[in-house]
């Protein structure tokens, strides 16, 4: 396969254009209005004197500039992006088209509920569908992303213990060492001490290690299942018992939901709280980093029988309800036991609409098929690559993986000095996006690979072939591997210069000020 990424010698937008050009015609203030209100004086101390230092381009220049930049970008529509734990599946075009309907995009989030009944109906159904998929009782669509939802989840854990009058001792959240970085980061934001527990050689969380740290101080456990090694946590039943025994709550990180739909659900596994990554499992595009959406679901667990407080009362943001009497959908605002609001308004509606279309077009049968396809693709790939000199498969190579697999390039690194990063650059050169590298942290020289349900068998074959070829070259001519990539827009990027305090350049303004000697 020959691959050469499109490369334009495209200047920064500041280096384009010409004084006097405009890219957009702003209407004039109506003469009648000017006459009516007279001259308006903005007080000097708050009036902008110098126009912002923005470039001056015509419309066609703006379009060409960004189209060229898009051509120097690689998305799922260009080829496979098997970034592990990111679930980069195909994004259906029907969802894009429907989500751009002005009957959605022109709605103001504070608009009268009578005028948004259709939108609320969609969201009401979506709440219900998602609850069924994860086996929970109540979902809020409010959080904007997975990590946002995690923050909500740990704040709920905090609130739960507060309402039970035990927050003074419930100060710890247990997180496995294989967890996504967002888990410990979220727990810390909610003021918890993070207790990290190691993984056992079989890839499960070490249950003895959990027992050793569980105590009266344990507020909860955060877990993704299947875990980031792609392995199903077989001890989940016992884990749930241990945590519930000390009145801790179980939080399900939904990043890996693509590996279990139709087979088991967080609710079936004993989790109390679960988030869902709409942009991962339900096919809304990742947008170069976002937007996503992160619905949060809970079991209807009793928090306080006397005050009749249930876990769902703690959920953040508004929840769509249906009033049987008035025959109307409405937004139920967070009540007095809720952890409150995480963003100004309802939810990241656009990705949620796309999830609605996705689920409707697949139905329950299709979603189960999605999971089966994702898991078959992973294990098929393992079979193709396993036993290739240079790579190893840490943590019980005999176990089936689910949505993803983590190979290690450590043998190659030890033998000939070719690293996981080098392997990734070699994949880029063949026209593939690379796996997630150096994560999870418990695998050295990690290559975390997730093809998802939408990758063709042919591409998986080619990907495996390319990885074998890379290994072969690594052993025959390791110097060659250090020269990758050659076929991308640029060759390897200087990260030292990028990050050094004397050269770090996060904006054009910094570049200019440094040149003028105004900053160091």
């Amino acid at each position: 396969m020959v691959f050469k990424q499109a490369k334009w010698d495209e200047p920064l937008i500041y280096e384009l254009g010409c004084e006097g050009r405009i890219g957009f015609l702003v209407p004039e203030v109506e003469e009648d209005i000017r006459r009516e209100v007279g001259e308006i004086q903005i007080p000097d101390k708050i009036r902008r004197e110098n126009p912002p230092e923005l470039p001056e381009l015509s419309e066609v220049e703006v379009v060409r500039h960004f189209i060229r930049l898009s051509q120097m970008t690689y998305g799922v529509d260009n080829g496979p992006i098997p970034l592990g734990s990111c679930t980069m599946k195909y994004n259906p075009k029907i969802s894009e088209s429907i989500a751009s309907d002005p009957r959605i995009t022109l709605l103001h989030p504070l608009q009268d509920e009578d005028t948004v009944q259709g939108l609320l109906e969609i969201m009401y159904l979506l709440q219900k569908w998602l609850a069924n998929i994860v086996g929970m009782d109540v979902c809020t669509l409010h959080p904007a992303a997975g990590a946002h939802s995690e923050l909500a989840g740990v704040l709920i854990i905090r609130k739960y213990h507060e309402l039970k009058g035990q927050l003074n001792r419930k100060k710890e959240i247990i997180v496995p060492d294989s967890a996504h970085g967002t888990n410990p980061a979220s727990a810390a934001m909610a003021g918890f001490r993070v207790v990290t527990v190691r993984s056992a050689p079989d890839g499960n969380i070490d249950i003895e290690a959990v027992k050793a740290v569980v105590s009266d101080r344990t507020a909860g456990l955060m877990l993704t299942n299947p875990n980031t090694l792609g392995l199903f946590e077989e001890n989940i039943v016992e884990l749930a018992e241990i945590i519930h025994e000390v009145d801790g709550l179980l939080y399900y990180d939904g990043a890996n939901l693509n590996g279990i739909m139709g087979y088991t659900r967080p609710g079936d596994m004993g989790f109390d709280i679960a988030h869902i990554n709409i942009h991962k499992t339900f096919g809304s595009p990742h947008g170069g980093g976002g937007p996503g959406a992160g619905p949060l679901c809970v079991k209807e667990r009793i928090v306080d029988p006397e005050r009749n407080i249930k876990l769902s009362d703690l959920l953040p943001g508004p929840i769509v309800k249906y009033d049987n009497v008035r025959k109307k959908y409405y937004l139920k605002k967070p009540g007095k036991y809720s952890i409150g609001w995480l963003k100004s308004f309802f939810a990241n509606t656009i990705p949620l609409i796309k999830a609605f279309i996705y689920i409707a077009c697949l139905g329950p049968q299709g979603l189960k098929e999605v999971t089966e396809q994702a898991v078959i693709n992973t294990n098929y790939f393992i079979k193709k690559l396993k036993d290739t000199k240079g790579y190893s498969l840490p943590y019980d190579p005999e176990r089936y993986r689910k949505h993803e697999v983590v190979f290690s390039a450590k043998p190659m690194t030890q033998d000939v000095g070719v690293t996981a990063e080098d392997v990734c650059k070699g994949l880029l050169d063949a026209g593939f996006y690379a796996p997630t590298m150096y994560f999870p942290l418990i695998v050295q020289e990690a290559l975390m690979i997730e093809f998802t349900d939408t990758e063709t068998k042919e591409n998986i074959d080619k990907y495996a072939e390319r990885m074998k070829e890379i290994a072969k070259i690594a052993y025959e001519n390791p110097e060659e591997a250090k020269k990758w990539p050659r076929n991308t827009v640029v060759t390897r990027v200087d990260l030292v210069k990028a990050n050094h305090p004397k050269t770090v350049t996060p904006s054009w303004r910094v570049l200019k000020l440094r040149k003028e000697g105004k900053i160091k």
Partner: protein, 474 residues
Amino acid sequence: MSLVVHPWLPNSPKKIKEDMLKTIGVKEVSELFSDIPEKVRFKGEWDKLEIGFGRPLSELEIQRIIDDILSKNKVFKKPPVFLGAGVWPHYVPEVVKYIMSRAEFCTTYTPYQAEISQGLLQALFEYQSMIADLLEMEVVNASMYDWASAVAEAFLMALRVNKGKNRILIPSTMNPMHLEVVKTYTMPRGVVIEKVKYDSVTGLIDLEDLKEKVAKGNVAAVYIENPSFLGFIEENARDVGEIAHDGKALFIMGVDPISLGILKPPGALGADIAVGEGQPLGLGLNYGGPYLGIFAVKWDMKLIRQMPGRLIGLTTTVDGKDRAFTMILQTREQHIRREKATSNICTNEALCALGAAVYLALMGKHGLKKLGELILYRTNYAIKKMNTITGVKAPIFKSLHFKEFTVNFDKTNMPYTKIHKELLKKGIHGGLYLREFFPEFGETALYCVTELHTKDDIDLLIKSLKEIVEGWSR
């Protein structure tokens, strides 16, 4: 084996599936799930659960269903909603939509592999750069979720920078929806959020009260909005910053970027951190999101190292031959620093940031000034006309207003909820009723006028309000 062959699942045909299973060495796909303990397996009838419409739907079927459902929404086009309060009806240029829908941008993710993601990285660098120039701040991150979460993160950052201090001062007129989010984020921190009084005539922050509160010490940050939630221009912003700095507190400013063609940017007013809502920059209303949280700091390594979120930087290739872009200062972030990270944010609003970059490129050096003036004049025209209605007073504070303004209906003797419903009957969506947030303002609503509201639209609103309230008092 299930029997779903689906266009989104290339390996779903029976033959391919069987081939792959054979290679793996299993007969049934269920063997791949054999490690799921019996006890936690889903045992009900999956296909009977209410998930979707019970079976896979084709494009043409879902289109029809959605069309029926969406016809129940009421879209306000002529005139657009007179509703702002955090996000506002603004024009979305076609070029912005066109670029945002480019598949390469839309379907990629965080540019972990820089060499193959240069286009996206450059576009995000340009977003950071253009916002930096608009704000006159040096360092802008690649986005937060929205203004509310950005201001909440700014407060958390201020608490890290000013370790040991636990008071944060805010204006009493602060966007109440932002304040709710701030409360959620800061809840575990033991922070004291204190409201500074406003001048009862102008609405501006009371500088004497601010001085007194700062003098008590222990202040990590002072925050103001410009324009304020109620639409008035906070003309004493620089004084606020000086008072904050005298008390060794950080000065945080929240801004509406669309106002910065005509209003002084936070960098020129002494702000240490600036936040804002990028939604006006070509992103649409979208019933709640996605939007764009702007987050910026001035050039100070002490601040930069405490910033949340992703940052893109300019560098070169290792061989020094080419200009190149990459993610920088990642050791602040959760995937590396875990519980010691500056924030847990991972997925952000990058595509919206890209859209904002396109918007600013179109507007260029002078477009925002022209747009700002258009909005300013129309706002003040609407204010003037409001006061011609019997019993109506606008605004409640005597200051210059931009884009939004309060309208008080106390003297019409008509409850605002009633006025609102009557307007709806005429196909007009009025402003936000403020009683829930500011009961002291009586029957007051917050109205919004932008470049989308023509003189005719405004005149129609005034005429309709006149009919409603003057008809009522008769």
